[in-house]
């Protein structure tokens, strides 16, 4: 083997990589949408407004963080909507408006999300229930529990109000007007980048999504990795519920409903393959921005909700036709 000629492997330029290309495209589209917004309404590009748009985008970004990890392994989490609702309702009911109680209500709500994720993961791994069914069933279970235990929680009751301290953190801003919420998002983005691009766990997540059998044969503890991503997804959903309750000042049932489809859409628009194994959270961030800015721009153009919903769908189709097509079977 010693006399084998050294073959210089030429790596293609970085932007040719389909995942990188789709991430760049999505960010470009997000910037373009911001510019369009600025053309329609000059005030749109003021920092204060851009921050408030990004804060709304961050909510999708939080849920979609967990969704990205799950989808990268080839699964899907359909339980996000009612874990979000449960997170918000748990926070406000346990804290009952007191800042002191928030000290344990926040971890309790987060713990609930992690526990739901654990159950999802255990069911998928040990009972071999397909992810779609497991998380769909879990969504129903959480919905029934939240509605049943709170007896149809009404948003007018005192227990619906978020502790002041949570609201202050979520709505607060650093000197210079930079929202604390965006700082949280940046921290989550940085952490996920490290996990996906620098840690072994990330490598195994991609490996699992590409080919579970190969990942197992290569020595990956695929069961543990699967359970971990679902736990994280549950945690991120509950976190989103807490943040949403803080943002609005109170918890409402149904606050989480739009986030199931928004989280999947953000992941996919960001170029992550729904089959797993390809993609990155950076793309998801751009996807979350696009969904939010698109909604805002359409509102600026005074297009009613019906029209927004239609254009939202057309945007997803367009994104998919550009880079979501499967290679042709031979």
């Amino acid at each position: 083997m010693a006399d084998q000629p050294q073959v210089a492997v030429r790596r293609p330029p970085r932007f040719v990589d389909p995942v990188r290309r789709s991430i760049l495209l999505t960010f470009a589209a997000a910037v373009l949408l911001f510019v369009i917004g600025g053309v329609i309404e000059p005030g749109f590009l003021r920092p204060a407004n851009m921050f408030s748009v990004l804060v709304v985008a961050s909510f999708i970004g939080f849920v979609a963080a967990g969704q990205t990890l799950v989808i990268l392994t080839g699964g899907i989490d359909l339980s996000v909507a009612w874990v979000i609702n449960a997170g918000g309702v748990m926070l406000t009911s346990l804290a009952a408006g007191s800042d002191l109680n928030a000290v344990w209500a926040v971890p309790a709500a987060l713990g609930m999300g992690l526990a739901v994720g654990l159950v999802n993961g255990l069911g998928i791994v040990f009972l071999e229930v397909p992810p779609v069914v497991m998380t769909l069933g879990m969504n129903g279970i959480m919905q029934g529990l939240v509605l049943g235990l709170t007896n149809g929680f009404t948003s007018s009751s005192a227990k619906a109000y978020a502790p002041r301290v949570v609201s202050q953190v979520v709505n607060g801003s650093l000197p210079g007007g930079f929202p604390v919420d965006l700082l949280l998002w940046a921290a989550i983005a940085a952490t996920l980048w490290v996990v996906l691009s620098r840690l072994t766990l990330g490598r195994w997540i991609y490996a699992l999504g590409n080919n579970p059998v190969a990942a197992y044969l290569a020595g990956g503890s695929t069961r543990r990795i699967t359970i971990i991503v679902y736990i994280l997804a549950g945690g991120f959903s509950a976190f989103t519920g807490i943040v949403l309750a803080g943002y609005a000042g109170q918890a409402t049932l149904g606050a989480g409903d739009p986030y199931l489809f928004a989280s999947i859409a953000a992941v996919v628009i960001g170029g992550t393959s729904i089959l797993g194994g390809r993609g990155h959270y950076l793309g998801t961030i751009a996807g979350a921005m696009i969904l939010t800015v698109l909604t805002d721009v359409l509102t600026l153009m005074s297009i009613p909700e019906a029209g927004r919903s239609i254009l939202y769908g057309l945007a997803i189709v367009a994104a998919l036709l550009i880079y979501g097509r499967q290679p042709e079977e031979v």
């Binding site: 069911g123 229930v129 279970i141 029934g144 999947i264 019906a306 254009l311 998919l320 499967q326």
Partner: protein
């Protein structure tokens, strides 16, 4: 061993094989039978068993049942249709706004609404089969699009459904037999006939192994487009039935059917990986999900817990079929 014993053994083996392959389907029939008996016994002993209560169970099940049949076509090919709920909302809105109480009007609009559903489904199918985009994403997008169109048609809940239309679809024949039960019979016969068609064989083949199907000359693109078109058509039919039962229109009323139709299909033993299962199972699944609600009502359980029990039954049914195979199946 003589030939007779061998044949008997082979027959037992086949039975065992069948039972294991269809464990989840048989389980859902078992659950359905138990729940049906419980319901009849409980309602009967409380004097609640009447033509009216039976008719209302059939009527309440029908939209989900029809949507689940539509979902079955797509799931059999290995796909999934998330746009079911929106197409139901859209057809319900169109019916509530445009349908007038005259025989001609009812027939014309029913036909148009079915056509609308079929076209919506065909668009899904073309994007999936020709556009080569993942089904879950195509139908996620069309879910959003048709929900928007439904809101355009009917911005506020309201409108009206002709009483004649309700009487035909949701009434009673000879004031005893629920019209819905007759429809159910028609649907079962339809499925038994459909199952023997070339198209049905293609659907199963595509879902089982797309590459082999293509290699063996199965028209894969056509089969997929047909599956989504049928799904759209049945969603529209479900929307018509929902309109007849609720007698009014609401542009968001169908949303729940996306996830419940998937749940019914899965409860009915149809594999989400495609190629396995039957629409009769999905129909049983739809009845299970609806009966849960009725039984909870009779058992005085907080109705708000209904989704909890539906979710629990869904997961337990799946887990049970896996466990049955684990303990009784041959290790492979």
């Amino acid at each position: 061993m003589n030939a007779v014993t061998l044949t008997r053994l082979a027959a037992r083996d086949r039975l065992r094989h069948y039972a294991l392959r269809n464990a989840s389907l048989l389980l859902s029939y078992l659950v359905l039978a138990t729940m049906g008996l419980y319901y009849v016994a409980y309602a009967g002993s409380h004097g609640q068993l009447s033509v009216f209560s039976v008719t209302s169970i059939f009527n309440n099940t029908m939209p989900l049942l029809i949507a689940a049949i539509g979902q079955t076509f797509v799931v059999l090919t290995g796909g999934i249709d998330l746009s079911v709920g929106s197409i139901i909302s859209l057809t319900n809105s169109v019916a509530a706004v445009y349908m007038r109480d005259s025989l001609g009007g009812i027939l014309a609009w029913s036909g148009l609404i079915l056509l609308l559903g079929g076209v919506a489904g065909a668009v899904n199918g073309i994007l999936v089969a020709v556009g080569r985009i993942q089904p879950i994403l195509v139908t996620l997008a069309s879910l959003s699009i048709w929900a928007g169109v439904a809101l355009f048609v009917l911005p506020q809940p309201g409108g009206a459904i002709p009483p004649g239309f309700t009487a035909v679809l949701a009434g009673n024949a000879w004031s005893v037999i629920p019209a819905s039960a007759v429809t159910l019979g028609v649907l079962i016969v339809f499925w038994m006939v459909f199952r023997r068609t070339e198209l049905a064989v293609s659907l199963y083949a595509v879902g089982d192994d797309e590459r082999s199907a293509r290699a063996n000359g199965v028209p894969v693109v056509w089969a997929k487009v047909a599956a989504y078109t049928l799904s759209g058509l049945f969603s529209a039919l479900a929307g018509l039935y929902l309109s007849a039962v609720t007698t009014s229109g609401d542009a968001t009323t169908g949303a729940i059917y996306t996830l419940t139709s998937i749940a019914a299909v899965v409860l009915g033993g149809v594999s989400l990986f495609g190629g396995r299962g039957s629409a009769t199972g999905s129909m049983a699944g739809a009845f299970v999900l609806t009966l849960i609600v009725n039984i909870l009502f009779f058992a005085n359980v907080n109705p708000l817990l209904q989704e909890f029990f539906q979710g629990l039954v869904l997961i337990l049914a799946m887990a049970a079929s896996v466990l049955v195979n684990l303990f009784f199946g041959r290790s492979t």
